[in-house]
Symmetry: C2
Subunit: 428 residues, 2 copies
């Protein structure tokens, strides 16, 4: 396939099957490089592939013989063929937990699964996207990895950079909780507190990218964003492989920027096109917190545009008030017959506890959002309990202890005596 | 193989290849049951096996075709053959990370690996031992799972019980930090704070086991201890399989009670006996924190007995002042040509940061102890840098943030301007 380029420079980077960047709005194509917006229409760019042609059975076997991490899907990702040999945190291939106890509580009879990404190296799905960004940074000759972050991403970048041999310099709002600061700083990269809020941090990073001071810097969620985003496709690949190379009927995905949801849909479509799964209908559901629900608000109102909101929710990892991929999420939910729903903070906490109590999985607030929304969608008749359903948990409860702490404690405190224990009424 | 029993009751429990309990002191054998001390000499009991006879190559293939968790080793564990079908957190098969960056810093040329058990479901190796105890509890008809704990174990038991369908009731000192209490309580089991210290909690649990109030209760680290301990063998199995069915030359293991170290040795010996690995010398090294170093003190003094100490260290998960398996650890370290060493709290913190900075692995304080001791042993010439070395990280830094928090923070805090960033001297 010939790449239609807009620049004269020869194509030299090796990112495997990645052929070009393509504008999601106007379809204009660009050479692979550290760019993120279309030079014609300013639309977002995404990776276009020359996907492996040939026998699906052979490709499936090749994948199954690969390592127990995202690199088993290297033939479908913007990474060189020898990626598994390079130093990486090697995230992915996290557990798809058959959640029979939770299914009973929710009345799901068609099979309920939790895709538990708290099993990643720094305990969130961010390790997937950062791992791909690292390979792009290598290909483009960057020496410093950077990002703006309020939590999970800072740690994921710091850890990945340390292991892969990059310098890192990560920017955070100066007033983050100490725990998050420690997680971001412990990997030994530079951590810079910015006097301002997250918007100020983002604005500063955009300035830095355009300045000589930022030369040689790869911002995973800015100038490497088209590659970074592709990491979320691996969630789709893994879910289908772990279901026995089968599409789930329904899948519930949290929405922050909306990128993850759109890339999971992209991944499912690729599997269908490659013949790795049978083509049959699937429904994609988006989950938001009520305190930051611009997409579910638009979905319910039947709008095509997403009106920004000022976030106010305990689900901080989803608190993006102006989600870049919001309109694409609306498209996908509507096209597949899914929906977008939201739950309030109390429901988030209840859902975290429900998942912990039934399956022994302690989820981040984002996992409380997806489980809570699943429950609500079933009650509303929008999610069919007789179909196979996958719910994403994208992070770890250890990182958002504050959400459950006020309502989680000992059943009793007693003197160390059998009488005291008997009186507490807990013997059974 | 005939089991020499001391009781008349017929053998009815199915724990796979487990044939009996055997006293580690006097070798008297007992039927499988919820007992933990020899009725003749009060020595500790351990599981004796009828290990699979036959072709090693066939066994190896059977293991490799098994699930990506500890149940792939079911033929070598006290669990029924169909264990992988039962609800479990399915821990294990965590990453063996080739730590080339750390090797360079430490001058290791023979290959350095970190066995990273922070990848387990509740992020510590405790998930392994608890998973085995759960199967024993099932076999003995227990309905409540319990333990005394100061941290990792409480969460591991709560989570495993939730998933496996047991009631849980866990005992902790009443004055634990809130974070640890939340982690122990979030899985919805009963959590009881005991007014007293950890010794008081333990004493209370021993009383409860002997009382009708505790009937039907499986205390994973007391009356199920012989089974529970076997879970640590899986670390040995995984390390060898992940090295390509090869024994490591040297292995550095943290010491709390010492059980983990003795069971890893037991696991290595089994692999040799079964022909799964080639029989060649290996050295086992034990690692303690200086503030709780009864075993390393005895080792250095050339003693056979371990004199109890009052713990005072940040490595709280290793803070057992009177380690039950101390004498066995001394035996193994001496027999294999290893050693037992300790590092102080400052060295623990430095080692946590060293591992994070080089490999992107954020370890619990116990991981700081093993990495710190590895460094010290190399400097002392006791650990050969030209040989293949495996270092255990048994827990997650997220659970011991306090250890590094005082010395881990931003490189700079600046206004959101390029000038301010230039002045901070971090551009490169």
């Amino acid at each position: 396939m010939a790449v239609q380029t807009t620049e004269a420079a020869p194509q030299t980077v090796d990112l495997g099957p990645a052929a070009a960047l393509s504008c999601r709005e106007c379809s204009e194509r660009f050479e692979l490089g550290p760019i993120f917006a279309c030079r014609l229409c300013f639309g977002p760019l995404e990776v276009a592939y020359d996907l492996p042609a040939g026998d699906a059975e052979e490709l499936r076997k090749r994948i199954e013989a690969g390592p127990n991490n995202i690199w088993r899907y290297a033939p479908l990702l913007p990474v060189p063929a020898d990626v598994a040999e390079k130093p990486s945190l090697n995230p992915g291939f996290t557990k798809l937990v058959k959640a029979d106890n939770l299914a009973r509580e929710l009345g799901v009879t068609g099979g309920l699964f939790v895709k538990d990404d708290s099993g990643n190296p720094t305990h969130s799905f961010k390790d997937r996207v950062v791992a791909i960004a690292v390979e792009a940074a290598r290909a483009f000759g960057f020496t410093t990895l950077s990002c703006s972050s309020t939590g999970n991403l800072a740690g994921a970048v710091g850890a990945a950079a340390a292991r892969a041999g990059f310098r890192s310099c990560v920017f955070i709002p100066h007033d983050l909780e100490q725990g998050k600061v420690v997680m971001a700083a412990v990997y030994g990269g530079e951590l810079v507190g910015i006097e301002g809020n997250y918007d100020d941090v983002n604005r500063f990073c955009s300035e830095l990218i355009g300045d000589p001071l930022g030369e040689g810097w790869g911002f995973v969620n800015v100038n490497l964003r088209p590659y970074y985003g592709e990491g979320s496709k691996t969630l789709a690949y893994e879910i289908c492989e772990q279901l026995g190379w089968r599409l789930p009927d329904q899948i519930v995905i949290p929405i922050a920027s909306g990128s993850q949801l759109t890339k999971i849909d992209k991944g499912l479509q690729e599997l269908i096109r490659l013949g790795l799964v049978e083509d049959r209908p699937y429904k994609i559901f988006g989950a938001q917190a009520e305190g930051c629900s611009p997409v579910s608000t638009a979905f319910k109102a039947g709008h095509d545009v997403v009106r920004p909101q000022k976030p106010d929710t305990i689900a901080k990892s989803l608190a993006i008030g102006n989600p870049a991929d919001g309109p694409y999420v609306l498209d996908i939910a509507r096209r597949t017959g899914g929906a977008v729903e939201d739950v309030n903070d109390e429901q988030v906490v209840d859902a975290i506890k429900l998942l912990a109590r039934t399956e022994g999985i302690f989820a981040e607030t984002a996992g409380g959002v997806t489980v809570g929304v699943t429950k609500k969608l079933i009650e509303a008749g929008l999610l069919d309990p007789a179909l196979t359903t996958v719910v994403l948990n994208t992070g770890d409860g250890l990182k958002t202890l504050d959400a459950v702490a006020p309502t989680t404690g000992p059943s009793a405190t007693i003197r160390p005596s059998l009488d005291a224990f008997r009186d507490a009424g807990l013997a059974r």
